[in-house]
């Protein structure tokens, strides 16, 4: 994965929401066609389709995984398809596979897309899915473990060690919500305050309902190609300039080394910045898909932007909010946008492209030149950093 071998040239997205009356395919049609039209390509110019696995929807997974997308959309020039699954880091892997297809000549242009429709999953099934996806069935699940509890366990210890206050933690939701308020595609646009976060129902201490994710329906898509072709197609190609990753652990009991995740974050970040030939100071936005507020804290401290224990304060001071000195997650991450499974990851890259294309409306960060993105699967089994930019270095 070396510098500038892939460019995003088209994007499409439906607003995250609750659409019991729309089918998955209805959303797949709209987002994929929007992205292909946006790229300037004709429908038969798309040579590959890579789908983000809708983990919670086995039926849709079967349809997509066995090749329905190009057939439905009439992509007559499609040479191959693949469905990718790495939890929250799925879209990153879809981009990697696309890069390989493009560089090896398997496909010159690739459509990457996602769709998840939580409203069609019965609520008890959805709870069961999230209770068992990534939770160990022998050593965690029998105790009544949930994803919320998993984050809460890390948060309890973090707050104990650093004396970070509930108000500081709650301010992360407020900061994300400020971005979501400016985003017509986000689901949770009603203004929230620290007081409202802390007054929301306690789900599992110290995690309040407003600090957890609200499930939504969503779909997004992007078209990627080689930098050479990208320049011919558009005036605003978005280049991937670097990527670096570390695997950590799958289960929380294995994270006995307290510096483990922070070191993974920091090592991979150093590597990606070196590859992209820039420094942290050059970054205009951090687009992070972490799903829970604590993730942002871990990443800011892992990057060395904040000293251990000081990220909460940094966020509460407004540094990551609209107008702040380091905008973070300009669509409000899953907390603001609404949680669409692995789709938040796809939407994060679409938002990254939107910002670098200068099309982010009220959220547009001025002079946006480089964006550092992060994705991770499961409860942080890996840490993947990528750098995107407007120009090839």
């Amino acid at each position: 994965m070396s510098r500038g071998k892939l460019a995003i040239v088209g994007i499409g997205e439906v607003a995250t929401g609750w659409y019991p009356d729309r089918t998955e395919w209805d959303m797949i049609y709209d987002t994929c066609i929007e992205a292909i039209r946006d790229s300037g390509l004709g429908k038969n110019d798309v040579e590959g389709v890579i789908s983000v696995n809708p983990m919670a929807q086995p039926k849709l997974q079967g349809e997509i995984g066995f090749g329905k997308v190009p057939e439905e959309l009439g992509l007559k020039g499609c040479k191959d398809i693949c469905i990718v699954n790495a939890g929250g880091s799925t879209t990153t892997n879809a981009l990697r596979l696309a890069e390989h297809w493009i560089q090896s000549g398997i496909a010159k242009t690739v459509l990457i897309h996602h769709c998840t429709k939580h409203s069609s999953i019965p609520i008890d099934e959805a709870i069961r899915f999230f209770a068992t996806a990534g939770i160990d069935l022998q050593w965690e699940y029998p105790f009544g473990m949930t994803y919320n509890a998993l984050i809460a366990l890390s948060m309890t210890r973090y707050m104990h060690d650093t004396k970070t206050t509930p108000e500081e933690m709650a301010s992360i939701v407020v900061a994300l919500n400020k971005w979501a308020q400016l985003d017509p595609l986000s689901m949770n646009r009603k203004p929230v305050t620290i007081e409202k976060v802390l007054a929301s129902r306690m789900v599992t201490t110290p995690l309040h309902a407003f600090e957890c994710n609200r499930l939504g329906d969503g779909a997004s898509a992007m078209v990627v190609t080689s930098p050479e072709l990208a320049k011919k197609l558009t005036d605003t190609p978005v280049y991937k300039l670097g990527e670096a990753v570390r695997y950590t652990q799958a289960t929380i009991t294995q994270r006995t080394d307290r510096e483990g995740i922070r070191k993974a974050v920091s090592d991979a970040a150093k590597e990606v910045l070196k590859e992209a030939g820039i420094t942290l100071k050059d970054i205009s936005i951090l687009e992070l898909y972490v799903a829970y507020p604590l993730g942002i804290v871990n990443l800011l401290e892992g990057l060395g932007i904040c000293m251990p224990g000081e990220a909460g304060k940094f966020i509460m001071e407004g540094n990551t909010s609209p107008g702040g000195k380091l905008p973070v997650s300009t669509m409000g991450d899953a907390v603001g946008r609404g949680h669409t499974g692995s789709g938040v990851g796809t939407a994060t890259y679409v938002e990254c492209a939107r910002q670098l294309m200068g099309r982010a409306g009220e959220r547009q960060v001025p002079n946006c030149k480089y964006i550092l993105t992060n994705s991770a699967g499961g409860s942080g089994m890996n840490m993947i950093w990528s750098v995107f930019g407007r120009e090839l270095k």
């Binding site: 022998q138 105790f143 009544g144 366990l153 890390s154 309890t156 104990h160 789900v203």
Partner: protein, 135 residues
């Protein structure tokens, strides 16, 4: 005891011994006879040295509470009767960390790093689960 309707641990052949241990009110820890490492969770081969020469030691059953969360809401129906309950991460004296529940305590007394000790509770005829309580 047989009307237990919550999820049971999904065993592997190499974890059989562990669950036989809890039935006898013993907390067993897998141990590599070659590199000397204590292993949790049990593996088929030692994750340090890939030895298959694995055995078991008995834990003293004491440790400290690394972290905890009092779960109050948002669980599957089969766990609802237990609410509120405390999920715990416990660092055992033998140098491993396990997930469990903290029981027999007032929630307001729980703090990170308090000493805890193991207790056992029969789930079914086959399974006995391990919990912890303040020591």
């Amino acid at each position: 005891m047989n009307d237990y309707n919550k999820p049971l641990p999904v065993k592997q052949p190499w974890s059989e011994e562990f669950w036989k241990g809890t039935k006898r009110r013993k907390l067993l820890i897998q141990h590599c006879n070659d590199c000397g490492k204590n292993i949790f969770y049990p593996r088929k081969y030692c994750p340090e040295c890939w030895s298959s020469n694995l055995g078991w030691i008995e834990s003293k059953g004491t440790g400290t509470l690394f972290s905890y969360t009092v779960t109050m809401y948002g669980v599957e129906e089969k766990f609802m009767a237990d609410l509120p309950y405390v999920i715990a991460l416990v660092d055992l004296g033998e140098g491993i960390r396990v997930m469990s529940r903290l029981v027999n305590c007032r929630h307001e007394d729980i703090k990170c790093d308090i000493p805890v000790k193991v207790v056992f509770e029969d789930m079914t005829d086959e399974f006995t689960i391990f919990y912890f309580e303040p020591a």
